[in-house]
Symmetry: C2
Subunit: 605 residues, 2 copies
């Protein structure tokens, strides 16, 4: 039965192209035809055909992403928890297409298909397929469906590689893209695991060099060994410890033989058995090889050149415990997009589930993907108010929970900062929290604004406000940002808690033509402490450091900050002493006395 | 040719026992006999037989740990870089024994051996062997060699499991133990990888259910697949990226077929081929099964009960990039030993080499293992001066490089602290740096002292001084330490830079009957700044925190510290204001004015 929020009963469809006399040219130099692609669609295409979202699948996926095939079907599509009415890919709003890949074995042309030239299954005579070939074929399907431009292409794992290929090969056909748990290329470790899996299949006596279709049995043992191995790489050490630990299947005592007795062993046996019933060994060889070959940068000379080709918004999601497509590989994509000044949002989602997290972390993915798609579709700011709600905070804790900004009072500095920024300028807010300041800047000054933030809850809030944000630790600086690439770089009420203020300020000045910094003024306390002696942080035999190079976190005053700017020959353009009511006019004489916070506009000399 | 520092040409020896009518009772309930163990020895046993070190090997290791077998032998023993004259296991000082395991295939009784009852090789009729059985057999060898007590048992990976078994099964026979890159038990992930490897062997048509010896060919493909898979787990993602990346074996272009073309593939092929020439498939099944079964805690109900049985000094070494025996598993051993108040030293060695690091990180291992063994052998402090040198700093950077203590001047507080501590008391110095204070405390007060420190260079310095030290981040508190388990817990000149001073001080008071804290006095600076107003850290609208709960790092004065003690109802037993010359007697009236640092002795009320 179709559950609440399900797309219900769906039919897998097929589209055949490259029929004689035509053929599809492949990357390997050979041609293939005719080609059939299996696909499914959910929701309905709107009048101007602007709401189509293409879902591309991982190694063992297929066209059946959501819903069920009949009333007695117990097993819904592979991404049913993300695709449906009110779900992350909301079928009430979007026309969702999921396409199988060529080389596959679930309704699309692959090694199991009959070679029209021989009348027999291709087997290993099937040409080597690349991710590029898969996407080339998908493009034919999209055009067949009469869609000129996709609202979004999204996929996880190998699906993320197909998404990267779409972004670089057919940028004009995309409004946005979501690259999930993926990488610009597979690591040497990943290639090694796939190679061992292929060895296991090829070593199986039933493999018969790929011509096993007529024997009626496929290399079951080799394929199940390959699957067991791969399955380990989809989980994490943590998730396996939680799920199995060292539990025994049934006995309480060791059996002292070589049968599978640990729960984790019997679980893997089961995964292997299930897999061989639904997947073709030759397809496993071809698809893993396609993954191993993929390198989005190769055709363009560098990852930056490749990302320079992309258009529209991109969101990249990785998962903290994913070691098959580790977060640092997603960050390489994000960094290249950032260097190329593309509109990119990134979140490394905290999860114990390993690579499988992209199929399991539904709650946060629903919020972040749903919010992202809504703003891709409605570019006008008006909708932002609607889109934004704070219940994400309820789930992820208050923005400040893991935020680097510790300040939580009423933000008098925001007004000042918004006043200081020029209309329509390009702004980066580092430690942007839940995006409130950027929201005001976009609303009132129509700036092209982006944020940098550490806390997952804040990232989600920003995305749901339609603000592009990259998850990063500002204490690590802004290494991926080009010199002078923003009109303003803003650091509000965060300076006093970051580890390396000197380094971060130098980075801000490198990246921003102007920088705006606000911080609490400790000079003010010293006033109340009735001393005008020196508004400086202590320097003694035991603390032989100026505050800005101190390993201690820092208490600084307006005087301290002025002194720092002098030391580093930084030009102070504006200095605004504030108290809770706003600008302290009287403070123009004695800001360090009367102001309890300050906003500075600085720039390189 | 034997190189400089080599033990030269060695012979593998054999010892046979459990001959009729005797047999060795095994954990599986069956008995085995006769049993032959292959072993090698290096260096010479001293008169009182007190310098014997037993080396136990990993899954695919053997008795040949060092030297060469003949003048043309190109390949020295598996741990030749650690065993020899002047090396980590210095054969000029120690009599080093390396024993093969039963179940093995390099000269010891295993499934390849002839079953005297049938006159044929055992094959799978060989009984299941456990780590306990391996150690039981090794004990017979040690007694045969006339050694009543071993100076040390040391091993990595499965060798670490054998070491743990020695520590818990025959504690009276050990003076010390070194557990390297190991775990109390193998993780579910590790068991899963081994299970897949066994499947590959058993699925090989040449396996013949283990009776392949007479066929003249062993299951080569299955065994090489198992080895390739295992080999991946011995490396790290990082080391594989550095070593192979995506380099192709020869061609610059993809070959678009299923042959091994990436360098990492051909490397694994080579590893597989080499392995099948020297290792027996049945032994691989038996030994991996022994590893999967091992759980040091099982016979005793808990890891703490197991570690409670141990005697003497233990050193535990893990490697930062080891994901097969991850550092957290070594830390579980260390924590249990600590809870049981055992003498334990721990270092998580920074390395990119993954699990293989225990065979490759020779420099640091030579220093830390050499230093450890020297102090096990010479318990008297005199030798400590000799053993200690600071060249470790040259290699690992100054102690403060990654230390949590930032203070580097002349330590006037040390003298005061040494004076304050009672003779022969039990002392823990958290953030102990290179062990200087503990050294003075042991020399002058004969205390039972141990340290806690973060920086690897400092850990090495401590070990070479003969000081037991556990690598840990004091900001994470002292969760593994029982209440009131030390007479004194000391935190010198570190309070002002730790993240959560309140939490750490509470932990110190829980663990120590008395706590000694020294810190720089900011009140002193305020004196110089000509203000007596209030010796307090600022509290304003923008910093609504007392210094000790502030997310900012903290500037505190004697008054601040007194106030904190009052707030937390902590008893101040002594308060010693200091300047660079020492105790400031005149400061008794105005310590906050005249002292630039202070030492407090505090306890729970």
């Amino acid at each position: 039965m179709a559950e609440e929020g399900s797309v219900g009963i769906v039919q897998t469809q097929q589209y055949t192209f490259a029929e004689p006399p035509y053929e599809l040219e492949l990357d390997c130099g050979r041609a293939l035809g005719p080609i059939t692609l299996a696909y499914e669609t959910y929701g309905s295409l709107n009048a101007d055909k602007s709401n189509a979202v293409l879902i591309v699948h991982a190694l063992s996926g297929d066209a059946h992403a959501a819903g069920i095939h009949n009333t007695t079907d117990r097993k819904p599509g592979w991404w049913d928890n993300m695709i449906g009415p009110g779900k992350g890919f909301d079928t009430d709003k979007y026309f969702v297409i999921c396409s199988n890949v060529i080389g596959g074995c679930q309704g699309s042309t692959g090694p199991w298909s009959i070679n029209p030239k021989t009348g027999k299954p291709y087997g290993l005579s099937f040409p080597i397929i690349t991710i590029g070939d898969m996407v080339r074929a998908q493009r034919q399907l999209i055009e067949h469906l009469g869609i000129a431009k996709l609202l979004c292409v999204a996929g996880g794992s190998m699906g993320g590689m197909q998404t990267l290929e779409w972004m670089t090969r057919y940028p004009e056909m995309l409004q946005s893209a979501i690259v999930i748990a993926s990488a610009p290329l597979l690591s040497a470790q990943g290639i090694a695991f796939d190679a061992v899996g292929r060895h296991a299949i090829q070593a199986d006596p039933s493999f018969h060099n790929g011509d096993y279709y007529e024997t009626g049995e496929q290399p079951v043992q080799g394929l199940s060994i390959a699957r067991m191995l791969a399955h380990i790489t989809y989980l994490s050490d943590e998730s396996m410890r939680i799920k199995f630990g060292r539990a025994l299947r049934s006995e309480s005592e060791y059996r002292y033989d070589f049968s599978s007795e640990f729960s984790v062993e019997t679980y893997l046996d089961y995964q292997g058995e299930q897999f061989v019933n639904r997947f073709d060994a030759n397809s496993y060889l071809y698809i893993t090889k396609a993954i191993n070959y993929y390198d989005v940068a190769a055709p363009y000379g560098s990852l930056d050149n490749a990302m320079a080709r992309t258009r529209g918004k991109t969101m990249v999601l990785s998962y903290s415990s994913d070691w098959l497509y580790p977060p640092y590989q997603s960050q390489e994509i994000v960094n290249a997009l950032t260097r190329q000044r593309k509109d990119v949002t990134y979140c490394n989602i905290q999860s114990d589930y390993g690579h499988d997290a992209f199929l399991l972390e539904v709650d946060v993915m629903k919020k972040i993907i749903g919010g992202f798609l809504q703003h891709v579709r409605h570019e006008d700011r008006k909708t932002r108010g609607i889109a934004h709600d704070v219940d994400s905070e309820a789930e992820f804790g208050p923005p400040s929970s893991a935020s680097q900004s510790i300040y939580e009072g009423h933000r008098v500095d925001y007004e000042m900062i918004v006043d200081l920024v020029d209309e329509g300028s390009r702004v980066l807010d580092i430690g942007c929290g839940d995006g409130e300041l950027l929201d005001q800047l976009i609303e009132r000054k129509g700036v092209d604004g982006a944020g940098m933030e550490l806390a997952q809850g804040n990232i989600v809030s920003c995305v749901r406000r339609g603000i592009s944000v990259v998850q990063a630790d500002i204490d690590k600086g802004l290494p991926t940002l080009p010199d002078q690439s923003y009109d303003y770089v803003i650091l509000s009420m965060t300076l006093q808690v970051i580890k390396k203020p000197d380094y971060v300020l130098q980075e801000m000045l490198r990246v921003g033509k102007k920088c705006i910094v606000s911080f609490p003024n400790f000079g003010f306390w010293k006033v109340r402490a009735k001393t005008l002696a020196m508004g400086r942080a202590p320097v003694t035999r035991n603390l032989p450091y100026a505050w800005w190079v101190s390993p201690n976190r820092h208490v600084l005053s307006i005087k301290d900050f002025r002194e720092y700017c002098a030391e580093r020959s930084i030009r102070i353009e504006r200095e605004l002493p504030l108290n809770r009511k706003g600008l302290v006019w009287t403070a123009r004489m004695w800001p360090n006395m009367l102001a309890d916070e300050a906003v500075f506009v600085i720039a390189k000399r």
